[in-house]
Symmetry: C2
Subunit: 294 residues, 2 copies
Amino acid sequence: MTVIIDGKAASARVVEDVTGAVLQLEASGHRKPGLAVVIVGDDPSSHAYVGAKSRMAKQCGFNSIQHTLPEETSREELMALVASLNADPDIDGILVQLPLPKHLDSEPVIQSILPEKDVDGLHIVNAGKLATGDLKTGLISCTPAGAMILVRQIHGNDLSGLHALVIGRSNLFGKPMAQLLLNANATVTIGHSKSRDLPELARQADILVAAVGRAEMVKADWLKPGATVIDVGINRVAAPEQDSGKSRLVGDVAFEECAAVAGAITPVPGGVGPMTIAMLMANTLTASGLSARE
Amino acid sequence: MTVIIDGKAASARVVEDVTGAVLQLEASGHRKPGLAVVIVGDDPSSHAYVGAKSRMAKQCGFNSIQHTLPEETSREELMALVASLNADPDIDGILVQLPLPKHLDSEPVIQSILPEKDVDGLHIVNAGKLATGDLKTGLISCTPAGAMILVRQIHGNDLSGLHALVIGRSNLFGKPMAQLLLNANATVTIGHSKSRDLPELARQADILVAAVGRAEMVKADWLKPGATVIDVGINRVAAPEQDSGKSRLVGDVAFEECAAVAGAITPVPGGVGPMTIAMLMANTLTASGLSARE
């Protein structure tokens, strides 16, 4: 029987653990972990994401602060806000919602966040810590960290002897995911748009992680029977079978046919997706340095 | 005909390029690039390495400064020296020879070097830049950077469609090497001591890079015919055929038998080895920020 990996349930467990830790902190007289979310401009989907993050932070019992800046905010104003949050002892985590308006270059803004408050795991110092296997003092990018929890749910913490293929080599997901798998002792292959014969590579993988943004690219005949399939893609496609003009979300994996061959597989939606926001909460607790004192 | 990749010649070309650039700098009135090498204690082989680096730096026309500190140097004294070199505008590169005496933890010392003067490429910021594909502003660890030059000599700059296997996952070599190969568009697999069936993985590799420290582990039947083989191992083994008590250096690859199958292969010694010190010179020129002004 193929295991359909339930990301919503795994995400809820992470949030429950974080919430429990915060309650314990409060009971022993500590302050709440503080998360500051910064959003610039009026992009509706960015506002929806930020709203969800702020709500989840409150649900976890965090001190949740949202800074909403107008579209025309200058680089200096944004950098000054980040600097004040860096200096604020009640703020443990700072998240600047991306993308920023076009006149603002995101890279210097992200790099100006103190690495130890960079709960999105995007700072070059956190990338360097992950790349050198320092998972204790670094903050790890939320989506790969969440995907790893789903992998561990199936295979445990030690992936020795297992071959993992990550398709996609972005800084946000593919590269950190490969480093996490390697750190857990997997043999890791990174494939991408310039790779020859991805299906043949995929057929050798005990763990296949797809993060390319191409709807249902991974087919059943790409899979080693019994493989664990982690689908990070979220693609909107037309769904004329429901109604003309309707659309639906699919992953990078052709779910129905692959579920028949895989040993375990994440659905889209409801797989990796819900993990990202949960790991943001876990990172904020980690950044507070308070979790160790439970 | 198998190409025996000549690391000594490639290394000499790098040094020649650096030396030429320094001559041009001087001719146009710029100061020389400055390299400070710090050695603590009396370890004879460390002194031999440092001597070779200082001689090469002089040969390149650098302002080469060596700081030799006694074995009993305290952490505070060493950190104070690094701080003064960080602040010295005539010093572009700082190298602290490892290993340090046992009472000194090397990690905080290395991390206290300014990333832009870290010509060994060991700072977490340089690891992060490499991990995120920023090869322009980061300094890259010398041995993998040198190994990449040998790979490029055979395959050019774009490794699209080629499959590379790196055996070994150290922070000093395996991980940065994998990142460099990935950045050049290779499909990259990282194998290591916990990998199952390395020979089978190796037989799929167009480029095989071995860095495990096990004498002649890679055999001819591990190779895809025509593969490029980069041997980073340096192992001393008994050589009774020469004289009882004698020893010789061998790599991680069984050279004679592999040379018969490979398309191109590095010897040991004379392959990757000579590249390391040459890349230290290239990194110092890069760190000086002067190379761009030629």
